[in-house]
């Protein structure tokens, strides 16, 4: 026990003396959470629009103002030729060009169908289809008004038939802000990156610098060495966790609706599994460079993409959905979003919590077995 204690003190001292390391360990999560928390926003709330109004009548102007009223469309250019549209689209200056044909009003008054051409800069598929959705909404409502509300001779509106209108209520996050959704996810991401990258260097570093040899000749046992490495990093991870939690609630003003203690406990399990992954990388790598490349390319990047942090898991093909089951970050993100946004707790999230626990323990055991107190 005493040996482990001394080892822990040694590790902590080492971190404490390395001022640059100390600064970066604690500053990195803070800076990343703050900046990325503001940056992560997928809402398409401005659609840069170009209008080519060939009709220039009351009806066409009326239609354009319907577009603007939605608040999504910002009309940057009013053009008078297709060439201008081509140039704007080529240079990526506009997302959509709407062409209102010459006989727009005439045809509507004659109750004929008029064609509305919309040309999208489609390279960003999700943005383009989102914008198409907005335009469809406007035209459907515009059409609906023209159909159901016909005017009698005195100009009074009469209804032709009964109609349905949607009444949408959004739960948990009524303004549908991405920030409330993203910040807890980024917290998980930041926590994962700092703990994995710290731990992945831990053992291989001693090996590369040559201090491993000194450790081998000391009477310290393998498990003591491992615990001596794990405990200080768990402590550091926990401090980082507390810092980012405070930031999330105080800086971003995100209210934790559920039990914060349960969240801390789940986060602790999450840190354990990350340290396990880090240790595994550290024991299989021969140099720090290898450890680093492996942790970035083989572990962190795939995990970021497949965790459901930004890309919904439900949209993935089945095969990749199965892979996501092996990613601790996935479970942690489900837990933190559930606790923070929905206010649910262990009774709904017990499965995720147990899986995190099981993963943490098994990865740690696996990497401890891979670790050998020997020189190759």
């Amino acid at each position: 026990m005493k040996t482990i204690y001394h080892f822990i003190i040694k590790e902590l001292l080492q971190v404490k003396r390395d001022k640059k390391m100390l600064a970066i360990i604690f500053m990195a999560p803070i800076l990343q959470l703050i900046f990325l928390g503001y940056a992560a926003n997928m809402d398409v709330n401005i659609v840069h629009t170009t209008i080519y109004d060939q009709d220039k009548t009351e009806t066409s102007r009326n239609f354009i103002s319907r577009l603007v009223e939605t608040g999504y469309f910002q009309i940057d250019y009013n053009v008078n030729s297709y060439e201008e549209i081509t140039d704007l689209l080529n240079e990526g200056k506009t997302l959509v060009a709407i062409v209102i044909p010459k006989d727009f009003e005439k045809k509507i008054n004659r109750r004929e169908t008029t064609q509305l051409q919309t040309i999208f800069e489609g390279s960003d598929a999700s943005k383009a289809s989102m914008a198409l959705g907005y335009i469809q909404g406007v035209t459907t409502r515009f059409s609906q008004n023209l159909i159901t509300e016909t005017k009698d001779k005195l100009g009074m509106k009469i209804s032709l038939s009964g109609s349905l209108t949607p009444e949408v209520r959004v739960w948990y996050n009524p303004e549908m802000k991405s920030r409330v959704f993203m910040v807890p996810g980024i917290l998980g991401l930041v926590l994962m990156i700092s703990t994995i990258s710290l731990m992945s260097m831990a053992v291989v570093r001693e090996r590369e610098i040559g201090t491993m040899e000194q450790l081998i000749v000391t009477p310290i046992k393998k498990y003591q060495l491992l615990l001596g490495k794990l405990i200080p990093f768990t402590m550091i991870g926990f401090v980082i966790l507390v810092i980012v939690m405070i930031l999330m609630t105080q800086w971003f003003g995100i209210i934790v609706r559920g039990n914060p203690l349960f969240l801390l406990f789940a986060a602790f399990l999450f840190i354990l599994s990350n340290l396990g992954i880090g240790l595994l990388i550290s024991t299989v790598s021969k140099t720090q460079q290898q450890a680093m490349m492996a942790s970035v390319f083989a572990v962190m990047m795939p995990m970021i993409y497949l965790s459901g942090f930004a890309f919904p898991i439900e949209n993935m093909p089945k095969f990749f959905q199965y892979i996501t089951y092996a990613i601790p970050l996935r479970y942690f993100i489900t837990i933190i979003r559930g606790v923070v946004l929905k206010g649910i707790g262990f009774s709904s999230l017990w499965l995720e919590t147990l899986i995190l626990l099981g993963m943490g323990v098994s990865i740690l055991v696996l990497s401890a077995n891979r670790f050998s107190k020997k020189i190759e």
Binding site: Q136, T140, L164, L306
Partner: protein
């Protein structure tokens, strides 16, 4: 001088080529990431899980629900019998939407009144929720139009559709998101490889003490750094080629623009990225610090601040200014212009200048820091 630079480059290359594990990671995993991007990641919201709380139980509501679930957008999970179930279904993420039909739906429709269909949407993921909102609005209106049509048919009139919307998508007619994501992925892979590998390979010499041997040799620090950089430029170019070739084979990505411009743009980007890496290597004393610093400056920023996934224009102004810290931002604009739109240099010359400035600033900073620390010794 050239001889000495060449010697250092050769030594570095030899060291790298012996490290087969490292090479495997550098060349193999970008392809894995590309596959993940191509197949696993898409923004299309489909197969939305819905529950129906039907208080009316009429032909109308049955027809309406059938209409919803016959599209690929909605999957019916369950019928709700009691209002209290709704909360549990949404809480535990069993469904994403609950549709509530009021019990007077058919009566009101028959008496030509307006009826409200209620949708309760799980808004946790705001982006998905607003897509769902778009779909349910469209579904309701189109059912409504269908009712009108049927009504008019009885009275012997035809339904008239006032506006026929004709969308056309340029550059990407099938609206695939993969092609759009490849430039961003390429930028991210290149910057991470460049920044991490150059900073680590220099700091490693410091950590192991071999830098002292280099210091006493006739090598100048300029020659040393240039010699170190050359192999990584090659590796990055090979990496870029691998991503592009894999993109072509797997996803049919064709380079629409000029290949020479692409090479030129990539080299300018590498100049900026390596500048950042060299700067980190002068500041950091251990590989651990260099790793953390490289992570902070390249991994997440190139993912989140480069406009790769999150559009820059929707960020707050202060963050928009901050996006300039990642050279990937400029490179993504260049790549998208060349790869997807086949645009010429007029579409992105400003980005090349930014990249040039970025690289110069960091290399200058590196020289200043380096001189200072040498002065201390």
């Amino acid at each position: 001088m050239l001889n000495r630079i060449f010697a250092i480059a050769k030594k570095e290359l030899k060291q790298l080529s012996r490290d087969t594990r490292m090479l495997f990671i550098i060349f193999f995993f970008p392809v894995v990431l590309l596959i993940i991007f191509g197949y696993a990641i898409n923004f299309d919201v489909k197969h939305i899980k819905i529950a129906v709380y039907d208080q009316d139980k009429s032909d109308y509501t049955r027809e309406y629900v059938n209409g919803l679930i016959s599209s690929e957008y909605f999957d019916l999970i369950t019928y709700v019998q009691d209002e209290s179930e709704i909360k549990r279904l949404l809480d535990e993420k069993i469904v994403q939407v609950v549709v509530v039909f009021p019990n007077d739906l058919s009566r009101k429709l028959l008496s030509k009144q307006e009826v409200k269909v209620q949708y309760l949407i799980d808004g946790v993921d705001g982006t998905t929720a607003s897509a769902i909102q778009n779909y349910v609005n469209a579904a309701t209106y189109s059912y409504s139009i269908k009712l009108t049509k049927e009504y008019l048919a009885v009275t012997g009139k035809n339904l008239y559709v006032p506006i026929d919307l004709q969308p056309r998508f340029w550059f990407n007619p099938e609206l695939q998101s993969t092609k759009f994501l490849i430039p961003g992925l390429m930028g991210m892979i290149l910057i991470v490889t460049a920044v991490i590998s150059i900073s680590l390979s220099i700091v490693r010499e410091k950590e192991r003490g071999t830098i002292e041997q280099i210091n006493v040799s006739p090598l100048s620090s300029f020659e040393f750094i240039l010699g170190k950089t050359i192999p990584y430029i090659f590796i990055s170019l090979i990496n870029a080629t691998i991503v592009l070739v894999a993109g072509y084979i797997l996803f049919g990505l064709v380079i629409k623009g000029d290949l020479f411009l692409l090479l030129f743009g990539t080299l300018t980007f590498l100049f900026a990225a390596l500048g950042l890496g060299i700067f980190i290597s002068t500041v950091a004393d251990s590989q651990q610090v260099a790793f953390q610093a490289a992570n902070v400056t390249s991994l997440l920023p190139s993912f989140m601040l480069s406009g790769f996934i999150f559009p820059i224009e929707t960020m707050p102004t202060a963050i928009q200014v901050l996006t300039n810290v990642t050279p990937a931002k400029f490179y993504v604009v260049i790549l998208r212009a060349i790869l997807l739109r086949g645009a010429g240099i007029s579409a992105f010359w400003d980005q090349l200048i930014y990249l040039g400035i970025f690289g110069t600033v960091f290399i200058t900073l590196a020289i200043i820091v380096d001189k200072r620390s040498k002065g201390k010794q």
